[in-house]
């Protein structure tokens, strides 16, 4: 069956994939991405999803990074804050 997958790791991927019926979100993540699932937001059809959810024909799964944050604080300032 065919699903659409979106993922930014490696060379980036946004295309259709053939997966075996019965494939779960966790299995697809392990096969296509790997690493720590906690570092990603995994959604199916724009909805947060449990790892054991079984994918269906036509599903759209996006695996996108989380906790993107920037700051303008120098390390020395943090030392002063804690002093």
């Amino acid at each position: 069956m065919r699903i659409l997958m979106i993922n930014n790791d490696g060379g980036g991927f946004a295309d259709y994939l053939d997966v075996a019926p019965g494939t779960s979100v966790a299995q697809l993540f392990e096969r296509q991405v790997g690493g720590r699932a906690a570092d990603y937001l995994i959604r199916v059809n724009r909805q947060p999803t449990p790892a054991d959810q079984v994918l269906q024909e036509g599903d759209r799964i996006s695996i996108t990074p989380t906790k993107i944050e920037g700051a303008n604080v120098f390390p020395a300032m943090r030392v002063r804050e804690g002093a």
């Binding site: 996108t64 944050e69 303008n72 604080v73």
Partner: protein, 205 residues
């Protein structure tokens, strides 16, 4: 010398030095967004299909900011990725150039910036962290996550030779208001709210 190698040499000679370049439209939008609020702001560069280091637009995602930090909303990032895919862009064009601003004088990345760049973009084949400070200072670094890896600081340039659209402040402001939530500052100011140039002095001493 063969014709092929002569042509190849000429091409190398004509090639511009590697830089992160923004079209005048993208640069103007980035500066507008940088100055639209009191805090940091961040987003992604959308690259030209012909040159992944030429940024044609800057897109915000939903985020919470204060005067010294910006935190992207995870759902906002996912929505942004899905929207870009829907209009037919590959991730290499819209998800690899992470841009944010610093409200102070320094555009040098902080420890938080470095940690995010490593953790979030370290598994990409390549990615760029770009920072523009309110002072006008800029910083960009290209990192490769494949093969032997490697990093390269890039100058930031405006590609005046490209065609570009005019200012679109109304839509830029609307995008800012739609995307950026200002976090309330704590009542008592701490050292973290000091200008970053003072931070550098503290660090040096």
């Amino acid at each position: 010398m063969s014709v092929v190698s002569a042509v190849s040499m000429q091409k190398r000679k004509n090639r511009r030095p590697t830089a992160l370049r923004l079209t005048p439209y993208a640069w103007a939008k980035l500066l507008y967004l940088r100055d639209a609020g009191p805090g940091e702001v961040g987003g992604f560069g959308i690259a030209s299909p012909d040159d992944l280091l030429l940024i044609e637009d800057v897109a915000l995602v939903r985020q919470t900011v204060d005067r010294t930090s910006v935190v992207f909303d995870d759902e906002g990032v996912a929505d942004y990725f899905e929207r870009q895919v829907e209009v037919g862009l590959p991730p290499a064009r819209f998800g690899r150039v992470w841009i944010h601003t610093h409200p102070g004088r320094s555009a040098l990345p902080s420890a938080v910036d470095e940690e995010t760049f490593r953790r979030v973009f370290g598994r990409c084949d390549w990615a760029v962290m770009a920072i523009v400070a309110r002072s006008g200072a800029s910083y960009a670094r290209l990192a490769f996550g494949v093969g032997p890896g490697g990093e390269l600081e890039l100058p930031v340039e405006v590609a005046f030779e490209t065609a570009f659209a005019g200012s679109d402040r109304l839509s830029w402001q609307a995008e800012f208001e739609r995307s950026v939530t200002l976090r309330a500052e704590p009542a008592e100011e701490s050292f973290s709210l000091l200008d970053d140039s003072l931070g550098a002095l503290i660090w040096e001493s």
